[in-house]
């Protein structure tokens, strides 16, 4: 165990820069938001206990971003990896290779090292019946969440070993400039992208014994930040740029 290089970089340099770059100056304190008109009358005994939402819908895409304060500066909370193994629909032992690969990539095990908050590798099960290939409760994917120093270690190995050696990778795809960002993903503060199976073999944790794994798996990486509201995803991209992750416009 040693001091985390990227965590130090965030606290020494990146946090200040991101605060300056994402600062929105507000001249006055905000007026309180108008109470929305709800769809059903909460007093009416017929509709009292119904799920009541605003008349125009939840409008999550229009959530305003919180006021810029020093406590509110965007930071990376966790990195989540997710892999779906289609072959596991018929044979659940196919998941084992993906579980072991994620275990090597993340270093996470269930309550490993005495840390009771770490859940380790989670199995993803189907939620609903679709297309004849999935049904509720069918284990079909693998996921893991990393926080703290382990998260920064993974980020470091991704940026230094994997992304430079990927073929035809110019950067994480950004949405078109004209596309509206008032969407659930636009206000989420989460940046996601996928890696092909060839990328898994480039991680040093796996590269050292690639032959031990039955096959390589493509997977998604989700960078989860504490930002939410308008421009949250743009701010998350600015943060990740500071960790040397490239972004490119979708062509």
């Amino acid at each position: 165990m040693h001091p985390s290089r990227l965590a130090d970089h965030y606290h020494n340099t990146l946090r200040d820069d991101i605060m300056y770059m994402t600062y929105n100056h507000e001249f006055q304190t905000r007026a309180p938001a108008r109470e929305p008109n709800m769809k059903y009358d909460p007093e009416d005994p017929y509709s009292k206990h119904r799920r009541n939402i605003p008349r125009g819908g939840i409008q999550i895409g229009k959530t305003p971003s919180p006021q810029s304060t020093p406590d509110n500066v965007i930071r990376l909370e966790k990195i989540a990896l997710h892999c779906m193994v289609k072959e596991a629909t018929s044979n659940r032992s196919q998941l084992l290779g993906a579980i072991m690969a994620f275990r090597a990539l993340s270093g996470e095990t269930h309550q490993g090292g005495g840390n009771r908050h770490r859940n380790g590798i989670q199995i993803v099960k189907g939620r609903k019946t679709e297309g004849g290939w999935i049904r509720p409760g069918l284990p079909v994917g693998v996921t893991v969440e990393m926080t703290g120093d382990r998260m920064y270690e993974f980020l470091g190995s991704l940026v230094n070993f994997v992304l430079p050696r990927l073929r035809e990778f110019n950067g994480i795809k950004m949405p078109f400039a004209s596309r509206s960002q008032q969407t659930p993903s636009g206000v989420s503060g989460v940046v996601s992208f996928g890696l092909p199976p060839q990328a898994m073999a480039l991680f040093p944790q796996i590269e050292v014994n690639v032959d031990s794994y039955p096959r390589m798996y493509g997977f998604h990486i989700h960078f989860i930040t504490n930002a939410f509201g308008q421009d949250a995803q743009a701010r998350a991209r600015a943060l990740l740029s500071g960790f040397q992750i490239p972004f490119a416009r979708a062509s």
Binding site: P3, N12, Y20, M21, M174, A177, D231, S241, F247
Partner: protein, 296 residues
């Protein structure tokens, strides 16, 4: 520079850009304050920052804590999945077990130092025979890494305390201070007025290169100033309609290069940490700038 390109691409059409433009425009329009009715001369100065290039060396307490946590993790780790990686009874598995024992020995070596001479550890009671002594296999330690020694964390500039060098204090944030003619130590910039239609951050970069030369790769952080200071008017504008001057500070990173010492009017310059700046600037100036300097 990769970082500059990606940020530029990000900001090309985003609301962050338009917000920056609006802010600068509003600053121009607010030159006249309502209370005094006087105009203020707007100037830009630059906080030129060399970020840390080395991680901070852990203190003895931190090192002990990291070692302790590492050992706890080792003591409480979940069982290793032997069945996935090795066939039962294979030679590779036996070799792995021997190497793992060696790693444990290395990891918990600190505990053995506290053992008193009277209570001898059980391993010393085993008969000394010629046994196979495992060493960590080439896969785990690369010999090329052992041969290459890392550079010293203290450089020549540290030893002689060369304040003009950018290689000093690798683990700290360094800031540029300049001295003009008979003036005091100040941050560079704040020598002129904005040009017509020029944005604040553009003015900051232009003034920086005018004062310190073009032999450096400088990147302005965003379009927002990070601090403001009231300053006296320059001599030639004393009797004009301006009631005073306001200096807006911009954070700029130096990515490569060095100050050009041959520039006219530049008497002296120094790359200093926050505590060193406190010692050489005036108290009034320090009160204005100390909040924008980093302790790290």
């Amino acid at each position: 520079m990769l970082r500059r390109f990606t940020v530029a691409a990000l900001l090309q059409n985003s609301r962050l850009q338009s917000r920056g433009c609006t802010y600068s425009t509003i600053t121009h329009n607010l030159q006249t304050t309502e209370s005094t009715g006087k105009k203020y001369l707007i100037q830009t100065a630059v906080l030129l920052n060399r970020s840390p290039v080395l991680t901070r060396s852990p203190t003895s307490f931190e090192a002990a804590l990291y070692q302790y946590n590492s050992n706890i993790g080792r003591a409480l780790f979940n069982p290793f999945p032997y069945d996935f990686y090795f066939n039962s009874g294979s030679l590779l598995k036996a070799q792995f077990n021997k190497e793992e024992k060696l790693r444990e020995k290395l990891a918990f070596n600190w505990a053995k130092k506290t053992v008193s001479k009277r209570s001898t550890p059980p391993s010393s009671k085993t008969p000394k025979t010629t046994q196979y002594k495992p060493s960590l296999s080439p896969a785990t330690t690369t010999s090329s890494d052992d041969d290459a020694q890392p550079m010293s964390r203290t450089t020549e500039a540290d030893k002689i305390n060369d304040v003009k060098s950018l290689n000093r204090q690798g683990h700290r944030n360094l800031y540029l201070l300049v001295k003009r003619g008979e003036g005091e130590w100040r941050l560079p910039g704040a020598r002129g007025d904005l040009r017509d239609g020029e944005l604040l951050h553009e003015a900051a970069k232009r003034e920086l290169h005018a004062e310190c030369g073009i032999n450096m790769d400088a990147w302005v952080v965003g379009r927002h100033p990070i601090g403001v200071m009231d300053a006296p008017l320059p001599q030639e504008l004393q009797s004009s309609q301006y009631g005073g001057a306001k200096i807006f500070f911009f954070k700029v990173h130096i990515l490569a290069g060095q100050i050009d010492p041959t520039i006219a009017n530049l008497k002296d310059f120094a790359w200093l940490t926050k505590e060193e700046i406190k010692k050489i600037v005036t108290l009034e100036y320090w009160n204005n700038i100390h909040n924008i300097l980093s302790e790290y």
